[in-house]
Amino acid sequence: MFRKSSGSFLLSLAFAAIALPALAADYQTNLGPMPLDDETKLVIAGRGEATASSDGKTMTVKGSFHGLLSNATEAHIFVSPICGVPGKSIFNLDITKSTSGTIAGTFKLTSAQAAALRTGKLYIQINSEKAPEVYPWGPKGNLWGWLFPAHETVGANVPQQDHWFIPQLDTPCAKKFEDADNA
């Protein structure tokens, strides 16, 4: 864990009510086109948003997407070995098989999966027809987004005073690398 200096600790406590869920909490993510290189950027585009709510035993995910360059084919919840590193699929989401639409699903969580949600290790991945089915190496997909505890966001070019959301400071973001199979 990142250890906070005493100066920022009180600030963090003030923020904790929003960003540090216990068991019942809401989560959010913005879905963006990933992974990108000069080949995949020709077939990968779009954006989306999703939220998740959980009582610690079940999780309900809802979201929408738009702007894909080809029809969506499937959507999954993945678990990361740590915050921000791609991992393995654990749940299938219902998805509109079009270039825009919605995703949804409700799932029972194991205790490990619930912990993964709380520690920023769950993310959504949407695949599409043109996104590489078998990427030469590494993870594939069309849109990704990591689920983090609900936090204040502002639009582009809008200044936010004082605190800025940084996952490893504001959430119990997992940083010790663990095999995703544990979840």
Binding site: S5, S8, E39, P81, V85, V158, P159, Q160, K175, F177
Partner: protein, 741 residues
């Protein structure tokens, strides 16, 4: 003529020595290409790829090695068709698809051949798909070297007076596709093209450097402390909205430009690509003199990060210029005439480097007590006795005073931090950003880059910290003797430099040096002792399993520690860095350090393949500008946007700060809250270091537009598909208030 066969084989062996045994499978197998393709592929490679990847395919900085273990690790399990697709769609950098299909297939054939694949009788086509490690082993065959021996090719940079043989114009006239037909104007005449006669030039003194006149911008970050802060306040938060263009000056196209205009007594000195140095009337934009030092960029179009410099220096009646190929010039500031010229490494050639000189210099200079201090880059190759260093030269004569090697050698303090590596394998720790200086402590502060190779598994240093890489160095500017060092990222392994600006800030009796590197950690050290004071992460970082804000100690993730060249690895930030060369500004009135930040992540396979993804929690915004109070590292304000910032920041006593971005926007923000007060859109990416100065009582803001460079250009170039920029437009813009204000 030296035996090139031996030289090339030597280079290839050096690159691949560690992994030859496992690669025996492919040795002797014939590849799906012909010898004729290899021969013409060599020429196409030298013309289009070698400027970044080097002629021996060893790679530089952002351009990965295309031979040996690094290449085989990244590409061995993929097919020749995938290699073709990668190269044809992405190369030359920023100009993917600009070569003919035949050129791309020949280049692939040449690369395969240089990695041990033998030519056969079947010509390579874009769809020829063979797993690469079944035909190549990472070791150049004698046949490949023979091709090299027989081919005619240009050594090192084009010598002064000669432009590269094949310009885009010539290629276009020959019916080839050219991606940037507007940028074929490589200069072909060098020397003093306009001699100046500046009257009443005021020599720059030590006293001026310690206390710069308000009207001037005498050095890289304006003052010795590296603040990038101007005490001018005619332009302020209330009137900046009426800012207007006063004059504009087109700069040499092609290559890479990230320069700082330097202003003294109404004269502006600026460096352009091809090492074109110009003096301009800072109030009117009139050219006063021009000296084209040369050589021209190695190829048309935007260049790599190794072909630039970031700042000039002034002292006495001279202007000082360090060039990418390691030369240091003194020019007469009044006429532009050369006063003296020297080479940082005495024109030492890289053993096995095909004539390339050992060491370049891109970071600008700092002048202290009559000495010109300069750092090095591109000096990190294994297998010879050379090392990167900081060196100092007599400003009057160019004679070298001292040099300080930035890697700890056997027997030196920290010399036991390289595992069992002999001294000739301790490379890197480049200094590609000029240092700062505390006159009271008579100490100069420099940041260093990571050890090379930057991957731990290729470097062979085990768990060693690799001092003095990724450190802050405190040196005596008169002797080069080290006073202390502090290593921010021991054993770094992800191309995450801690090399950027060292900003000197006092809080009462506490004298601090602050810096932020690619990992995005903002550091505060005691600049008297080098002791850690505090640090705070500014962006999402999952590189460190543990970062202790009380001690500054970092612990890398286990999978990073255990990385292997043939397995992909992910990091946030990626090589674009949470912070890069786009320097901070210290706004003294509010004690705010205003920091350009970048937000992207990477997957790396070896160091040869990179794929990017948005930094989690950023909603796809790659750029962020944040202000932190330096007394307690408290965040004051932030805003983010899709395009990353590609300039440093300048702030002023008028409580405004200026910054430019990848998507051509140059803006002024309120230093108290980050609100945008004024913005305009320029011709291409706003890139460089903006400055503020005054002439005849009128305050101006100057900034450059330009292209080229490393990760800060390449990553958004891939990730921001909606941003379209012209491939030219290198220029200098000067803004001021309307004349009646």
């Amino acid at each position: 003529m030296p035996n090139k066969t031996i030289l090339l084989l030597g280079a290839a062996v050096a690159l691949g020595a560690a992994a030859l045994a496992p690669m025996a499978l492919g040795q002797g197998a014939s590849g799906p290409f012909t010898q004729a393709q290899v021969a013409s592929g060599r020429q196409a490679f030298d013309a289009n790829c070698a400027p970044c990847h080097l002629q021996d395919l060893a790679g530089t900085n952002d351009a990965p090695a295309l031979a040996g273990t690094p290449f085989m690790g990244a590409w061995g399990k993929r097919t020749t068709a995938q290699l073709y697709s990668k190269i044809a769609t992405t190369m030359p950098l920023g100009q993917g698809g600009s070569l003919s299909e035949a050129q791309y297939t020949d280049i692939v054939a040449y690369i395969l051949n240089r990695n041990g694949a033998h030519a056969g009788t079947t010509a390579f086509t874009p769809t020829s798909a063979v797993q690469i490690d079944t035909i190549a082993n990472g070791r150049a065959p004698a046949a490949g070297a023979a091709v090299a021996q027989n081919s005619t090719r240009q050594e090192s940079p084009a010598p002064s007076g000669q432009a590269p043989a094949q310009s885009n114009f010539a290629r276009a006239m020959a019916g080839q596709r050219v991606s940037d037909p507007g940028a074929f104007g490589l200069p072909n005449r060098f020397g003093l093209s306009l001699e100046g006669n500046i009257q009443n030039y005021v020599p720059v003194t030590e006293a001026m450097m310690v206390n710069p006149p308000d009207s001037d911008w005498l050095m890289f970050r304006r003052n010795y402390q590296g603040w990038s802060y101007s005490p001018l306040k005619q332009i302020n938060a209330q009137n900046v909205g009426s800012l207007q263009l006063k004059w504009m000056w087109s700069m040499p196209e092609n290559g890479t430009m990230e320069i700082t205009p330097i202003v003294h007594n109404g004269v502006m000195f600026v460096w352009g690509t091809g090492n074109t140095v110009q003096a301009l009337n800072a109030g009117t934009g009139e050219l006063l003199w021009e000296n084209r030092l040369g050589p021209a960029p190695r190829r048309p179009g935007p260049g790599p990060s190794t072909e630039e410099t970031r700042s000039l220096g002034l002292w006495g009646n001279n202007v000082y210029v360090n060039t990418p190929y390691g030369y240091l010039y003194a020019l007469d500031a009044r006429t532009g005439k050369e006063v003296w010229k020297t080479h940082i490494t005495d024109e030492l050639k890289i053993p096995g480097g095909n004539g390339n000189m050992f060491g370049g210099s891109t970071g600008g200079v700092i002048i202290i007590k009559g000495r010109v201090l300069v750092g090095m880059t591109n000096c990190g190759r294994n297998g010879d006795d050379n090392h990167c260093y900081i060196s100092a030269y007599d400003a009057a004569t160019g004679k070298r005073d001292w040099k300080f090697i930035t890697t700890a050698l056997t027997g030196q303090p920290g010399g036991d931090s390289w595992g069992k590596l002999p001294d000739n394998m301790r490379k890197g720790a480049e200094t590609w950003i000029a240092g700062t200086y505390d006159p009271e402590l008579n100490t100069t502060y420099w940041g260093t880059a990571q050890a090379k190779p930057w991957r731990r598994d290729l470097r062979g240093s085990g768990d060693g910290a690799t001092n003095y890489a990724n450190s802050t160095l405190a040196l005596d500017p008169e002797t080069g003797k080290m006073k202390w060092w502090y290593q921010h990222a021991p054993g770094e392994s992800l191309d995450l430099d801690e090399v950027f600006e060292r900003v000197l800030i006092d809080h009462g009796d506490q004298k601090t040096v602050m810096t932020i590197g690619k990992p995005g950690i903002l550091w505060k050290l005691d600049r008297v002792t080098g002791k850690f004071i505090a640090a705070v992460p500014t962006v999402f970082n999952n590189v460190y399993e543990n970062f202790d804000q009380k001690t500054g100690k970092v612990v890398y993730r286990k999978d990073i520690h255990d990385q292997k060249v043939d397995q992909w690895l992910s990091s946030c930030p990626g090589p674009e860095g949470g912070h890069d060369w786009q320097a901070t500004s210290y706004h003294q009135p509010s004690d705010a350090l205003i920091i350009p930040l970048s937000q992207s992540c990477v997957f790396m396979l070896g160091n040869g393949s990179q794929t990017y993804f948005e930094m989690p929690g950023t909603d796809g915004n790659m750029g962020r500008l944040s202000a932190y109070r330096t007394a307690d590292l408290k965040p004051l304000w932030s805003f983010q946007q899709r395009a990353p910032f590609l300039t440093g920041v300048v702030s002023t006593a008028g409580n405004v700060a200026f910054v430019g971005d990848f998507d051509r926007v140059f803006r002024a923000v309120d230093t108290s809250n980050g609100k945008t007060l004024w913005k305009t859109r320029l011709g291409t990416t706003v890139q460089g270091y903006p400055v503020s100065f005054s002439v005849d009582g009128k305050q101006y803001i100057a900034v450059t537009t330009g292209l080229g460079g490393g990760s800060p250009q390449a990553k958004p170039g891939t990730m921001l598909r909606e941003v379209h920029r012209p491939p030219n437009g290198y220029a200098l813009f000067v803004f001021g208030l309307p004349d009646d204000k």
